[in-house]
């Protein structure tokens, strides 16, 4: 600790602090920090904890709404779902750790996001995950897929929370930086939400959960650093998850909350003990004193620095009400958890740490949060391509081959190989999930007729082509997916995955994508209540495609009136709701069949989006239709094919536009739905009366997926094309 000023400034640079940031610390302290203090500042001011590059951008997102109980700023967002109940949810990334050690990286990602949810008093009831991998032919991809999927399964299955949905994409843009975004949804009583702010001085600070080891020291700063060629050397930072400990932690935490002993509570996530204690004290405007000797330790001779920065998993910090230590002791003993009172809140406004009787850190708390850098990073307007005229895009030479190619391409092919490894049914309230053929997962609110609809969406190729439209589209698609099962969309969580924000082009992607998301959220009354930012997703200077993942929650008042796309019946008419211009820019047809990535993505008309959605939801709620599918990747062909496969009934498509049949069939125009109807006339009339485009697009029946003269494919063949790709790929030695 007796390092010279010179050395400490150098260490600061190694910790990722910029010279001006270091100077600010010295000014605030009126002296040089010691190593522990420097460590505390460096993690609190890291991108991961401080959101220094993105805060200005995030401020643009709408966060208020009639149902919002808690917006961004706590561990998770909270929305009102009626009857005194609340839904608590958030999404978080574990990208870098999953690339380094896919199983543990993904597993601890799931563990971390669950802790954010039960920390607020909610029982986790569903998990989703949004995964982006590199090109299937990249030598690392298969191993990463296999490790990530078994890590998610290994953790979620053991804890006993169903993994009900998600997405899996492949693109060479993720070769060196995969994305693992996990979302957790929980249920709580609206009047029993728990927060992090320490309410007063003089209260005991209790540590409980697993012991502290040297896991992931500096993980939070690692998550904010670009990968170099030496990323294999960053190994010691790998954290190992213990889902069994997490399960005990959930039960113990909820029991402790129910006992009335908890005044404030916070999980130890990134930057563990540092960020949890700083945030609890900081939010409550009090100080905190910890005696680190009392922290349950797994390894010998840990320094104060190591203990403060350890990212050992499955740990919690709680501030108890006066005199309630005995409740804690009883509950921790029952669940076999390590626990200790490690300190108290104070009225000094300072963070004071002791180790072996010595004060090893004594700094004011305010600068850690208030002075955290908030950067107005420079950005440039992204270059966006012009709209692609359908007339300039060739039709397929071989229609049948094109349809089969599309349905078996990695992004569209069935992900059964993935989701069959996830327990989707535990808790016995899952109604729709990955396997059942529905645009959103549907999970009952236990013991009621209500259900939550859950989805996660982003189309990175759109965002790459036009960040603003792509950002809008991600939100609109999430809203549409919730609508397609009959839910009222309520609120959004997001995970902004981008490259290095110090580059103005990347900052431009962030700024415009967030603008697009904000516009869509406003237009659709779809506030953002929580989220996470993951930057520096670059290797060797190449950034990932911009990927602002949107997770969303909707409410179904009575799950008896909902829709899926697996119940279409022979003889039903297929109605297409929405406007079709034949947008082929940035489409899957272009990429997978023609091998081109070009053109503007389909624009989203938010006003039409809303009208079409409200109309379709009305049909579902009125019991007029029960089989609905939104149109997205692969356009009408993919949507109709998926309905046919899920329902086990053939479809004969009837292109309404004679010109450019391929643009009509493969175009990815937004704001559209396919609806199966036994009595189509009144629906068409009602739609048109409401000013909507609605037309007959096909007929269900037979055993083929067909479109008049263009193609006729037996369902069995289509199914094989759709199902075979992933198992064949994963089982290749």
């Amino acid at each position: 600790m007796a390092a010279s000023a010179q050395t400490m400034a150098e260490t600061a640079a190694e910790f990722g602090l910029k010279p001006d940031e270091y100077a600010l610390i010295v000014r605030r302290l009126n002296r040089e920090p010691n190593l522990v203090e420097l460590g505390v500042f460096s993690v609190m001011w890291s991108e991961h904890c401080s959101y220094k590059s993105s805060r200005v951008q995030l401020a643009k997102l709408p966060t208020a709404g009639a149902r919002v109980i808690q917006g961004p700023g706590e561990n998770a967002g909270v929305v009102d779902i009626g009857d005194g109940q609340a839904c608590v949810f958030k999404m978080e990334s574990h990208n870098h750790p999953s690339y380094i050690e896919p199983y543990q990286g993904a597993a601890t990602g799931v563990g971390g996001i669950m802790r954010d949810v039960f920390t607020m008093g909610a029982r986790p009831i569903a998990l989703l995950n949004a995964l982006r991998f590199g090109d299937p032919s990249h030598p690392k991809t298969r191993r990463l897929v296999s490790g990530v999927v078994s890590g998610i399964a290994g953790y979620g299955n053991c804890v006993g929370v169903p993994t009900v949905g998600g997405e899996t994409n492949f693109h060479r843009g993720y070769d060196g930086n995969i994305l693992v975004n996990a979302m957790c949804v929980g249920l709580a009583d609206a009047d029993k939400i728990f927060y992090a702010a320490a309410p007063a001085a003089g209260l005991p600070v209790v540590y409980f959960g697993s012991k502290t080891g040297r896991d992931g020291i500096h993980g939070a700063t690692m998550a904010s650093a670009e990968f170099g060629e030496d990323s294999d050397e960053k190994r010691p930072t790998v954290q190992v998850g213990d889902p069994f400990a997490e399960k005990l932690l959930i039960e113990a935490t909820l029991e402790l909350m129910a006992s009335g002993a908890v005044a404030a509570i916070q999980d130890m996530g990134a930057a563990g003990l540092t960020s949890s204690s700083v945030e609890m004290a900081g939010k409550g405007g009090v100080g905190v004193e910890l005696d680190l000797d009392l922290v349950p330790q797994r390894e010998e001779a840990m320094s104060a620095y190591e203990m403060m920065l350890s990212e050992s998993q499955e740990r919690m910090l709680a501030i108890l009400k006066p005199g309630r230590e005995a409740d804690g002791r009883r509950i921790f003993e029952k669940w076999g958890l390590d626990a200790a009172v490690i300190g108290r809140t104070t009225d000094t406004g300072r963070l004071v740490l002791r180790r072996s009787g010595e004060v090893v850190c004594d700094i004011p708390l305010a600068p850690l949060t208030e002075d955290a850098p908030r950067l107005e990073r420079p950005w440039v307007e992204p270059q966006v391509p012009a709209r692609l005229d359908p007339a300039e895009v060739p039709a397929p030479d071989d229609w049948e081959a094109a349809v089969l190619k599309l349905m078996s391409c990695p992004d569209v092919a069935s992900k059964r190989w993935v989701w069959e490894q996830y327990d989707r049914h535990v808790m016995a309230d899952t109604l729709e999930e990955s396997a059942t053929g529905a645009d959103a997962a549907v999970v009952r609110v236990h013991g009621t007729r209500k259900a939550l609809a859950l989805t996660s969406d982003c189309t990175p190729r759109y965002v790459a082509a036009n960040p603003f439209e792509g950002g809008k589209q991600a939100v609109a698609e999430a809203w549409r997916n919730l609508t397609a099962v009959g839910a009222d969309p309520i609120a959004v969580t997001d995970n902004l995955n981008f490259g290095n924000p110090e580059k103005p082009e990347i900052m431009g992607q962030i700024a415009r994508a967030v603008d697009g998301m904000a516009e869509a959220c406003r237009a659709l009354d779809f506030p953002v209540v929580s989220g996470n930012v993951s930057l520096y997703n670059e290797t060797g200077g190449a950034a990932i495609p911009p990927t602002p993942t949107v997770g969303a929650v909707g409410l179904i008042p009575d799950y008896g009136l909902r829709a899926d796309f697996a119940s279409m019946k022979a003889g039903q008419a297929l109605l297409l709701v929405g406007v079709s211009h034949g947008e082929l820019g940035a489409s899957l047809y272009l990429r997978e069949v023609l091998g081109r990535e070009a053109g503007a993505p389909p624009p989203v008309d938010l006003e039409l989006e809303r009208r079409a959605g409200d109309f379709v939801r009305g049909l579902i709620r009125g019991g007029q239709v029960s089989s609905v599918h939104d149109l997205s990747d692969g356009g009408l062909v993919a949507a109709a094919a998926e309905m046919a496969l899920a329902s086990g009934v053939g479809v004969e498509l009837a292109p309404t536009s004679a010109t450019h049949a391929h643009a009509f069939l493969f175009g990815e125009d937004q704001g559209r739905y396919l609806v199966a109807a036994s009595d189509p006339e009144p629906i068409i009339a009602a739609g048109r009366a409401g000013g909507l485009n609605i037309a007959l697009a096909g007929q269900a029946g037979g055993a083929d997926f067909a479109c008049h003269a263009l193609f006729r494919i037996p369902l069995a063949r289509l199914r094989l094309a759709n199902e075979a790709w992933m198992p064949a790929y994963m089982d290749e030695a």
Binding site: F244, W419, V426
Partner: protein
């Protein structure tokens, strides 16, 4: 009917099982913590639920089989009380040697979660009487170690004595002779990998699991 569901640290189908029994039979269901050394009096059914007791570390069910409450569970079984182990509970019963054989890693080496079609191989048991001669049932499985193993003589004996209660119609895990569920010689201890506790009403895709609990009710 009076039933108990044992809760081990790491059980995660305990609530599901309670709800399933209540909805299927109207029975009163007690939750019994694994550290208890006594069970409620007058039980007609004890269920060891699914989950990952003790994290399934070392071997699935191994540590749970040594839990204090298992002494009473065994004693109750010896007195003829119906005991059912579902999924992880089946693993616990095998580890406790209350049922023969063992559950190995799935042949596909992966956790598998999916609906399976079952053959009711013995419809004349305390656990299947309410199937009323129905030979088919649908439930879901969700496990990584459900590959039933026993030596050939044991398998012959199980088959010969009608102790095979359920079979898979399309084996998801490599189980010997497609076995999905077996019972003890005396017929009062059942172990099965599929989840009747996730198949108790049509909204869940099947209500066949309710018949299992109703069978026990009828014999109570």
């Amino acid at each position: 009917m009076k039933a108990a569901v044992v809760v081990f640290p790491g059980s995660n189908c305990d609530r599901d099982t309670k709800v399933a029994i209540e909805r299927a039979t109207g029975a009163q269901v007690h939750m019994v913590w694994h550290a208890e050394t006594e069970l409620p009096a007058g039980l007609d059914l004890i269920v060891l639920p699914g989950g990952f007791a003790y994290g399934d570390y070392l071997r699935c069910g191994a540590m749970a089989a040594l839990s204090p409450v298992m002494v009473e569970v065994r004693a109750s079984a010896e007195r003829g009380v119906a005991v059912a182990g579902i999924c992880n509970g089946f693993q616990v019963l095998c580890e406790a040697r209350m049922l023969p054989g063992a559950l190995l890693r799935n042949a596909g080496l992966k956790y598998v979660c999916k609906p399976v079609e079952l053959e009711v191989a013995n419809g004349n048991t305390r656990f299947t009487a309410a199937f009323g001669g129905r030979r088919r049932a649908v439930m879901t499985v969700g496990h990584g170690e459900g590959n039933y193993f026993a030596d050939p003589e044991t398998l012959d004996r199980l088959e010969g004595q009608g102790q095979v209660v359920f079979r898979y119609r399309d084996n998801p895990n490599g189980s010997a002779r497609d076995i999905a569920g077996i019972m003890s010689e005396r017929g009062n201890v059942l172990g099965m990998m599929p989840h009747p506790d996730r198949a108790f009403e049509p909204e869940l895709g099947s209500s066949d699991g309710a018949l299992l609990f109703q069978s026990v009710l009828a014999s109570a």
